[in-house]
């Protein structure tokens, strides 16, 4: 903090306008944003994808993304107008007085250099200290960020630490020159909930400790509630509403803000049909491994017609592997999978067309799950002609029916390519493709986690409606407990390849919990600005009690 501004004003944007170049034209994507940020203040920017959050975040450093340009307004950082500043001036600010923490730490580190060397690079490059000083400082920061073995962890390569640790290492790197402003761009989106809370805690502590100002960009309202002093809600590059965090959460004014706030309230309203004697899918004592690494240990569960079973767990818990075993992509080393009482061959290549047809899959990333060079007609039509032998008018008719079922206008969409669809629409096409096979069982692998909350809710509602109409059974893989609450009938909690708890939703969500379920449940951020403090206090109390007991 070299120069103190009298009124504490650090960053001020006035009528900021940014253009993006698309389809041979410039489109305005940030439409006149005003923003003020004082020292030591944390501002939350929230909105759906395309709201211009990241673009504004980057603009705070005086830059525009490739294919964009700042077309109007001013960005004044500590008395310097960044829109007019030379590249050299901006370079001196970047990393030293303004730091940026990106969403994917894994993509932001150079895999060929050690963490601590990447840390010291900025410091030495900007003449803020020697390499030895930077090393010492890094170790101190690693300790403050509660990274394990702070003295040695810096000498590891990025692939040798976990995702949460990498994200903290990146935060440490951003702090290397003690910046006045830190821009956090969705820093915890890629993390598991249990890791997320640790990272959030350390980030908040560090911001308070160094009295840095921060802009926290996210689409997760519950997260921003923990971090920010005030919140700006953006949509289509325009400001919807701005207020202090508590006021914004308790009394949002605009309808759009209210709709964002209400998203997590969707609940499946119809009870699942009674269980039939023979389960639709039965996974019996299955173990599986990738090469020699075992990933699943003695898993057993049943899925009944018309039921939704949610499989919850952190990344690496084996929940997706369980799906791969059921589809036959990964033959189990032990145990068997049966469908409607009939044991399925272990490898999908040995299964009959009809067995393959019965179990369909919907993927997390709709972008990669549908071929970008196929038109919608072909994407949905292929299972129809492949499994059901439909051709010509009959097939065309069925494609249109399916499009109507997923609430897309057939005439408008049937000839499009996937690139001409939005994220939610693509996921709908994936659902239609799965439905085209006329299955009774669909595996949904994190189908909503790549989508904005409003869109995700639409998908959940659609899946729920289809379940009632077609009596489908879902296996719903997710790490998001809000989704589980919304759609499941039964829940399986997985940890390190084992099922730690399973049962009806009500049982799982009401105490007493298994220890791990408890941790998982308590780590899900809530829309209460005091939530994190409460959880920490609770955990500390528990830890204290346990220590006392010992």
């Amino acid at each position: 903090m070299n120069t103190k501004f009298d009124n504490g004003l650090l960053l001020e944007m006035r009528d900021l306008r940014i253009d993006g170049f698309r389809d041979e034209e410039w489109h305005e994507i940030v439409k006149g944003i005003d923003l003020t940020l004082n020292r030591g203040e944390v501002l939350g920017l929230i909105g759906e994808s395309g709201a211009g959050k990241s673009t504004i975040g980057i603009a705070a450093m005086g830059y525009a993304k490739p294919g964009c340009r700042i077309s109007g307004g001013s960005i004044v950082f500590d008395g310097i107008d960044l829109t007019k500043a030379s590249e050299a001036v901006k370079r001196d600010l970047r990393g030293v007085r303004i730091a940026y923490v990106a969403q994917s730490a894994a993509a932001s580190f150079n895999p060929a250099h050690k963490l601590i060397d990447q840390f010291s690079e900025t410091v030495v490059e900007h003449g803020k200290g020697t390499k030895a000083e930077a090393y010492a400082d890094a170790k101190e920061l690693y300790a403050q960020l509660q990274m394990p073995e702070p003295d040695t962890i810096g000498f590891r390569y990025p692939h040798q630490v976990s995702g949460g640790q990498l994200q903290r290492a990146m935060t440490a790197m951003a702090l290397a020159c003690r910046p006045d402003l830190i821009i956090f761009d969705e820093p915890t989106t890629a993390l598991d909930v249990t890791t997320q809370i640790e990272v959030l805690v350390t980030m908040r502590k560090i911001v308070e400790q160094f009295n840095s100002a921060a802009i926290y960009i996210t689409h997760d309202l519950a997260v921003v509630a923990q971090m920010a002093d005030k919140i700006m809600v953006l949509r289509y590059g325009e400001l919807v509403e701005e207020a202090d965090t508590r006021k914004m959460l308790s009394a949002p004014e605009e309808d759009y803000t209210k709709s964002l706030w209400a998203v997590r309230t969707f609940r499946k309203h119809v009870d699942a049909p009674a269980k039939e004697p023979v389960p639709l899918v039965k996974v019996d004592d299955v173990s599986a491994s990738y090469g020699v690494v075992p990933v699943l240990h003695d898993i057993s569960f049943e899925i009944h017609r018309g039921h939704t079973i949610a499989v919850v767990g952190e990344s690496g818990s084996g929940k997706s592997t369980a799906a791969r075993v059921i589809t036959g992509l990964l033959p189990p080393s032990k145990g068997e999978v049966s469908y409607d009482g009939e044991v399925l061959p272990k490898d999908y290549r040995q299964r009959t067309k009809d067995q393959l047809r019965q179990a369909q899959m919907i993927y997390q990333m709709a972008d990669t799950a549908i071929n970008p060079r196929h038109r919608i007609r072909k994407i949905i039509g292929r299972p129809l002609s492949f499994y059901l032998g439909m051709e010509g008018d009959q097939r065309e008719q069925r494609i249109r029916e399916l499009l109507e079922m997923i609430e897309l206008e057939p005439d408008e969409f049937i000839d499009r390519f996937p690139s001409e669809l939005s994220g939610g629409q693509k996921q709908r096409i994936c659902i239609a493709r799965a439905l085209a096979a006329d299955p009774k069982f669909i595996i949904c692998d994190e189908v909503t986690s790549a989508l904005d909350q409003l869109v995700a809710e639409g998908i959940l509602k659609l899946l729920d409606r289809l379940q009632q109409e077609l009596n489908l059974a879902y296996m719903f893989i997710t790490h998001d407990l809000a989704t589980v609450r919304a759609i499941s009938d039964e829940v399986i909690v997985m940890l390190q390849g084992e099922i730690v708890e399973q049962g009806a939703k009500e049982e799982i969500f009401s105490p007493p919990h298994h220890e791990y379920t408890e941790l998982l449940l308590s780590s899900v951020p809530e829309m209460d600005p005091d939530w994190m403090d409460n959880v920490l206090a609770e955990r500390a109390a528990k830890g204290g009690m346990q220590a006392a007991g010992n």
Partner: protein, 301 residues
């Protein structure tokens, strides 16, 4: 920047991009008008070569291997580029050369892509032992210097045109194999390939319908480059006497046959060489432009 997180102006669930109403032809025409000068020049060269190749008999008054005058005749009104070592009209042979050399090079390149492209995609899609065996086989073929290997094989199997085409196509397909395999590897890990496999699709569908459309841009660009190399190889072989055999007009052998003239300061033997060079440059210009368009490099504004 990937599609999934690009938030430049496109809202993930708001308004979808405008519907494409133009036909492919009008898009192509618009792109062409915006093309850089080098690409336009390249296209002009290629079109004129094709024109000459097709209409060689109409454009020239003499036959391809007809002796029409004294040997090494100078440039004159009757023979604009003089005559060659046997007294055949140079311009006529140059035109027919376009037809033969370019035609053979084109067929060879197509064959080369058929073999290498299909092999490469299959190696990526099937993987495992098939990938290992085919890739090592390609490594072995590539380890032997291509021109020497081609000379050796042509000596063994003779220099008939079909043999020439097959040998060069197979030797060159190793490069195509590698490229096709490399780009396919990025595609076969996509979920839609897994989805197709789970659907029970056969290798034929996966190769042609799922993978091929996604690797077309680099393959087309490579086609242009590969065409140049094949073309140069054929010319080199002809120059060495093992390529296209006389009396068929061919630019490589035309250089060799008239090479003596250079000693006398006559540029005539350089003309076929120049024709080769010009086409190579033209094709490369077009390929560069195409690569630039398809690789997303045009995003820098």
């Amino acid at each position: 920047m990937t599609d999934s997180n690009s938030s430049i102006g496109q809202s993930v669930d708001a308004v979808p991009p405008p519907r494409r109403t133009e036909t492919k032809l009008s898009i192509a025409w618009r792109e062409l008008k915006k093309a850089p000068l080098s690409a336009k020049f390249g296209l002009l060269v290629i079109i004129s070569y094709i024109f000459v190749a097709f209409f060689a008999p109409v454009l020239t008054p003499f036959g391809e291997s007809e002796v029409v005058g004294p040997e090494y005749d100078v440039w004159s009104g009757e023979h604009p580029l003089g005559t060659d070592n046997l007294g055949r009209d140079m311009l006529t042979r140059l035109f027919y050369g376009a037809r033969n050399t370019v035609g053979i090079a084109f067929i060879t390149t197509c064959l080369c892509f058929l073999v290498g492209g299909v092999g490469g995609i299959l190696a990526a899609a099937i993987g495992g032992w098939f990938d290992q065996i085919s890739s090592r086989l390609v490594d072995i073929l590539m380890a032997i210097p291509q021109l020497i290997f081609a000379l050796l094989l042509l000596t063994i199997f003779g220099t008939a045109i079909p043999t020439l085409i097959i040998i060069i196509a197979i030797l060159d397909s190793t490069r195509v194999f590698r490229l096709a395999r490399a780009v396919s590897l990025n595609v076969v890990v996509m979920d839609y390939i897994e989805a197709a496999k789970l659907r029970g699709e056969g290798m034929g569908w996966i190769t042609i319908q799922e993978v091929l459309p996604n690797i077309m841009p680099p393959l087309i660009a490579e086609f242009g480059l590969r065409f140049c190399f094949v073309f140069l190889t054929i010319s080199a072989l002809s120059f060495l006497g093992l390529g296209i055999q006389p009396p068929t007009a061919d630019w490589g052998s035309m250089v060799r046959d008239n090479a003596t003239l250079i000693t006398y300061g006559d540029v005539t033997p350089l003309l076929p060489a120049g024709a080769i060079a010009l086409l190579t440059v033209g094709v490369n210009f077009v390929v560069d432009w195409f690569l630039h368009k398809t690789s997303g490099l045009q995003d820098e504004h």
